[in-house]
Symmetry: C2
Subunit: 195 residues, 2 copies
Amino acid sequence: MAEPALEGLIEALRRLPGVGQKSAQRMAFHLLQHDREGAQRIAHALTTAVNDIRHCERCHTFTEAAICRTCLDDTRDQRLLCVVETPADQAAMERTGSYRGLYFVLMGRLSPLDGIGVRDIGLQQLVSRAGDGSVDEVIVATSFTAEGEATAHVIAEALKLRGVKVTRLARGVPIGSELEYVDLGTIAHALVDRR
Amino acid sequence: MAEPALEGLIEALRRLPGVGQKSAQRMAFHLLQHDREGAQRIAHALTTAVNDIRHCERCHTFTEAAICRTCLDDTRDQRLLCVVETPADQAAMERTGSYRGLYFVLMGRLSPLDGIGVRDIGLQQLVSRAGDGSVDEVIVATSFTAEGEATAHVIAEALKLRGVKVTRLARGVPIGSELEYVDLGTIAHALVDRR
Ligand SMILES: [Zn+2]
Ligand SMILES: [Zn+2]
């Protein structure tokens, strides 16, 4: 297999996260053999997305306009700000139907080992926005992992200095789960946070 | 998340084999956030491959010319033909360094449930090529799965009608494996095919 176009495609597909040599090869063969229209569609979608998608000036999520629809929606509670790590987390929050405030999307989380610092998560923009008097409460909804917790801590400290009220999503036993199968750390937290 | 370019990209990435909604989302976010150059490279490689890659007129493998380099290599034994399912299988065969004949690549295997019949694997082309008197032996190296075995059977029957000698790769215990951990069917076959 010394066909440059094929080798080039396999090499390029390896840029996708979680895709190694074998998967890339399988993807290339599948597209070329069974789904050339799909290949063209992916190529077109990638080009369109790279050209059209940027970050919202207010909340940093992906958007095609300067400011995203959520930020422009004036039926939402402008005095409530929820901090999430990714647009996927934001989407999960929206699907609950229980939140009507605005968002700030970090587009990542602090990870010193990967070289991701406060500048990469836009901490300064978050602090100026939340600290300008227009926001009553910031709900920090970063994930409950070591990196997510560290990120939440840094954000909370920075916001408290500006006198902003900061809360965190409750940790506890997931709905529908039997206690027997829930990890002990979760149970311990649920006990401390009992209400 | 109602950004058409982002939704379109996630939807398109789901055309890749083994990629569901979650992976597609993760890939899209990763490319847009951390590797836009990679996204452009993938788009370009896909377009190039779709435009340039076709099937070799003789062996059906992927190639950029009408006839692939392997088929044009006159230092190879023209009287020996090895039938494999995919270019990846062909590449594995080449890496052994023990085969110097030519190939016929089925680009799949018989799978009635998936609607893949003898026409899709080019059986007729294989039979006319192997049966024209220029080939002494056809080594059927399809995989040792139910579908691969069925494919080998159909090929062998068709070629035998033309009086072509047909062989199959030996089944047996893989080099380096301890008998204890080899599956029983393999041991049974290795016993029958002992030499
Ligand atoms: Zn926004
Ligand atoms: Zn060829």
